[in-house]
Amino acid sequence: MKNGNKLTGWIIIFFMFFALPLQLNAQHDLTLYNFSPVPQRIYENPAFIPEQKVYVGLPLLSGIRSSFANPFSYHRVLSRTEDDSLNFEADAMIKSFLKNPRIRLNETIDILSVGTQIAQGKFFLNFGVRQRFTAETYIPAELLDLVIYGNTAPQLFGKVVNISPSVNATLFDEYSVSFSGRAMENKLTFGVNVKYLSGRINVSSKKTKMELYTDSKDYKMFLRSDLEINSSGMDQIDKYFSQPVTNLVFPKNHGFGIDLGATYLINEKIRVNAAVLDLGFIKWKTNTLKWISHNPGSEVQYSGMNLHDFVKAFDDPGGFGKEVLDSVSNLVKIDSVYGGKYITYLPTRFNIGGVYTLDPHNCLSIVYDGISCAHHLSSAFGLSYTYTLKNFLGLTASYNIFNRQYWNFGGGINLKAGPIQLFIISDNVPGLIIWKSTNNASIYFGINISIYQKS
């Protein structure tokens, strides 16, 4: 017991000194991670063996998970005036992007989840089919400065700034088989989840450099671009559903992934756990299109037109302004390359946590979750309290830090009536209710048929 307390203390110290300074700005399923009545948390750590003997997630209702994270909240960018109308607060929006320039959206639909204990509960076998969508868009505040304030904004004028946005979005199907087991007299649980991935649509920014410099004396503009954006299924996306059914179901963008996890019972009160999720890749080769800088890395300069073109520009039906804009935008030449293959890696997640069991009905949990995506680590931290009453009621409340927000209070409810199990979970319950004041929200709900051991 004493050792366990020490360990918990060290974990807390680790988070305080190392994890928190990192950017905490992703969607992390922190509450689900520690909410044991829900069997789908096996997707958060394959070593989390469900309490159910057998469970079947109702097709399409087994689990629907949706989360988003904005750099700003509704109230931050739209302020109410005395006459009850709303003002767009550009300054506030830009400041938000300056702190956190990423917009994230994650959706997961459990099409089918089935799990069963085997070998008298020593092992657990789980099958799952899920459709997942992850999107992360990076919008530099400097780009907004340029659009909203022009290139004379102090943040831009006479400075080299990278105004390139980036986007990484993937829609894919996941077919998984996981195997979990117990060892060392149940002190250790372990699990592995092997996944076949079938990519549907992808956009991924590989290189995102578009440096802009406006000379504050003669207004000459210098641009240096090194852009490379890969895509699959984006070209003629309006005809996506006109494809043959076989291509729609299996788009031939194959990929593989694996999740690994383990828990260890230190003493009767304390169990620690860790998992690595989404170690995997998808090889995209269907309907691929790459946008790439024509002269990557080379600097181009716009110092004005020649007099002949200047005079001609006034005669342009689109107007002089359009001519000038065209002249500047023509500096960036992007080639479209059709065909080819490329690989994208899944955003890999790392979970490390611990559970302190107060009594059979109450426990405290802690978790650190990190997501590595596009050379960027997003960290999150969660602390939760869970109450369970046998297997028909489960409640949890959590305090979470993520998305640069320190006041996220999550919660979850699990109800079981007969074999029907319903659950709903969120990492930020106030965010769902007073959504105008939050910059993130998440919700996860589902219905299972759950059968427990009679004992």
């Binding site: 709303l86 003002n87 007099l307 302004g321 309290y385 009621l393 919660g411 319950v429 959504w435 919700i443």
Partner: protein
């Protein structure tokens, strides 16, 4: 069993139940006010270094100027290729020649034909190619296009034929002759192509011999009294090559008048003096005939003032130009140029230009073989033509030369521009200053506003070295001005559709000092704009 559930978890349950009821009316985007977008953009507009030569090319006026190897620039007041032209067909036209061949069958001939073939006796005809061209001597003639047309009216049928044999004529190196037949009763026409036939008449100039003979095949026809009757016409339509002598001829094409459009006659308004104006005529002769060209009239005419001046008489012997013939052995055209300047015309070129003409009238007469007999030759590709130009080397002085031009002016959403700061940096490498005004006008050229109000933009000259008449190297006239257009002035020009640019040019020292314009003298222009937008964007 008593169930103890912490209060905080109960509130959770209540919270979840309220999620979907508490935010029904909250995406009230219709309440979002229009956003007042006020960005400020700094944009380089123009960065150009315009040499005099480049300006000419870009304005499409380079054809009005002449730049020599040293970069000296001349204004081509008038330039015309083919001011007049003499082509080979103007020199010699041979009229068609006609003759008749007739042969009556005698009873003796009938008796012979009834038992054997009979040779019709040959008859010789002679054509004179100088017919209609007195004084012409044809030694050699290649017919490029020509025909011999034969209309026959015979009174019998026979399988025989008539032979035609030209003396001293070859085609493709073979003596030229042909035949027509058989004889048919009634009217029959034949055409013999003479293209490519060469007459070598050196031994007997002008005269072409044609021998007609024939053969009548053994037959019961013709009988005594039957006739062979043929009318011949020889037509030489185009000459491919001529050698001989064409005689002394005079070509006097009608007077021509040309309009001077350079600079839209901007020089009419101000004062201008060119140090060394020039006119020249260049004659190209690939016809093997010596000639003499006389400039009979060179008149400057100003239709505004009604004044005119013909300087042809003052040109003296310079008005007459002898044009040598090219050599028959290498046939390289001769090029003869006569330049008229103040020095060789008693200042009459300056007098010509001082008329500030908008029209120049000229008349040219050409005499061939002015010295009498010589060997003339020409091919169908030969020509004799003149290029005429009036050149004004841009070396002189001028004042108050006014140039105007208009451009379309389209700036959409001008109303959304709150202010505009236009900076113009002009570095003048030309030895002239410009007082410039830019007007904004409507479609009917009604002035709405000007860029500088009542002021003018004075772009100073590059300082001039009086010893060379050129700007000192590396010295320029610099003008750096920023024009601020506030909201009220922008509103004034909102309806503008045209920009009218008016410039008044003076050479160095306010038009007193002579200067030289060189093709590499340049104007560097850097225009930048800083525009503040004020636009209302509705969601």
């Amino acid at each position: 069993m008593k169930i103890k559930v912490p209060a905080i978890l109960l509130t959770l349950l209540i919270s979840f139940s309220s999620i979907f009821t508490g935010c029904k009316k909250d995406f009230d985007t219709d309440k979002i006010k229009a956003y007042n977008w006020t960005p400020e953009f700094a944009v380089p507009l123009v960065n150009d270094s315009i040499t005099f030569e480049k300006a000419l090319i870009e304005t499409g006026t380079e054809k009005n100027f002449f730049i020599d190897e040293s970069g000296d620039v001349s204004l081509l007041l008038y330039y015309k290729n083919n001011a007049f032209r003499i082509s080979p067909n103007d020199l010699l036209k041979i009229p068609p020649s006609s003759f008749q061949y007739q042969h009556s069958i005698t009873s003796v001939e009938h008796q012979v034909i009834s038992s054997q073939d009979y040779q019709v006796p040959p008859v010789l005809y002679t054509f004179n190619l100088s017919q209609g061209n007195p004084g012409v001597r044809v030694n050699n003639l290649l017919i490029k296009k020509g025909i011999l047309v034969i209309h026959s009216t015979n009174t019998f049928d026979n399988d025989g034929y008539l032979n035609f044999s030209f003396s001293n004529a070859t085609k493709n190196g073979i003596p030229f002759g042909t035949r027509i037949g058989p004889f048919q009763k009634g009217q029959v026409s034949d055409t013999i192509d003479l293209s490519g036939v060469i007459f070598n008449l050196s031994s007997n100039p002008n005269l072409v011999g044609l021998t007609i003979s024939g053969l009548l095949k053994k037959s019961s026809k013709p009988v005594a009294g039957d006739q062979i009757l043929s009318n011949f016409t020889l037509s030489i339509l185009e000459i491919g090559w001529f050698e001989g002598y064409l005689g002394q001829l005079t070509f006097s094409p009608p007077e021509e008048s040309v309009k001077i459009t350079v600079f839209n006659n901007a020089y009419n308004v101000g004062d201008i003096y060119f140090v060394d104006p020039k006119a020249d005529i260049t004659l190209h002769n690939s016809i093997g005939i010596p000639a003499q060209v006389t400039l009979q009239k060179l008149e400057a005419r100003n239709t505004s003032s009604g004044n005119s001046l013909d300087i042809a008489a003052r040109l003296g012997t310079n008005a007459i130009i002898s044009i040598p013939s090219p050599s028959i052995t290498n046939k390289t055209p001769t090029v003869t140029t006569r330049e008229y300047s103040n020095s060789n015309t008693g200042n009459s070129i300056n007098d010509l230009f001082n008329q500030k003409p908008d029209y120049v009238d000229y008349k040219i007469k050409t005499d061939i073989n002015p010295a009498g007999q010589s060997l003339n030759f020409f091919a169908d590709t030969s020509s004799f033509y003149a290029d005429l130009s009036v050149k004004l080397p841009l070396f002189g002085r001028f004042s108050n030369i006014t140039v105007k031009d208009t451009f379309s002016f389209t700036i959409n959403d001008l109303k959304e521009i709150d202010s505009l700061a236009l900076r113009t940096y002009i570095r003048n490498g030309l030895p002239l200053d410009v007082r410039l005004q830019v007007y904004f006008t409507d479609n009917n050229f009604h002035i709405l506003d000007s860029l500088t109000g009542s002021d003018k933009i004075l772009i100073k000259e590059a300082p001039v070295d009086p010893s060379t008449y050129l700007p000192y190297p590396g010295q320029y006239g610099v003008k750096d001005t920023t024009f601020l257009l506030g909201k009220s002035r922008i509103e004034k020009i909102t309806g503008a559709k045209k920009i009218l640019v008016k410039g008044v040019l003076n050479s160095s020292g306010n038009g007193v000092t002579n200067v030289k314009i060189k093709s590499n003298q340049s104007l560097k222009l850097v225009f930048t704009g800083r525009v503040k937008i004020n636009s209302s964007i509705k969601p």
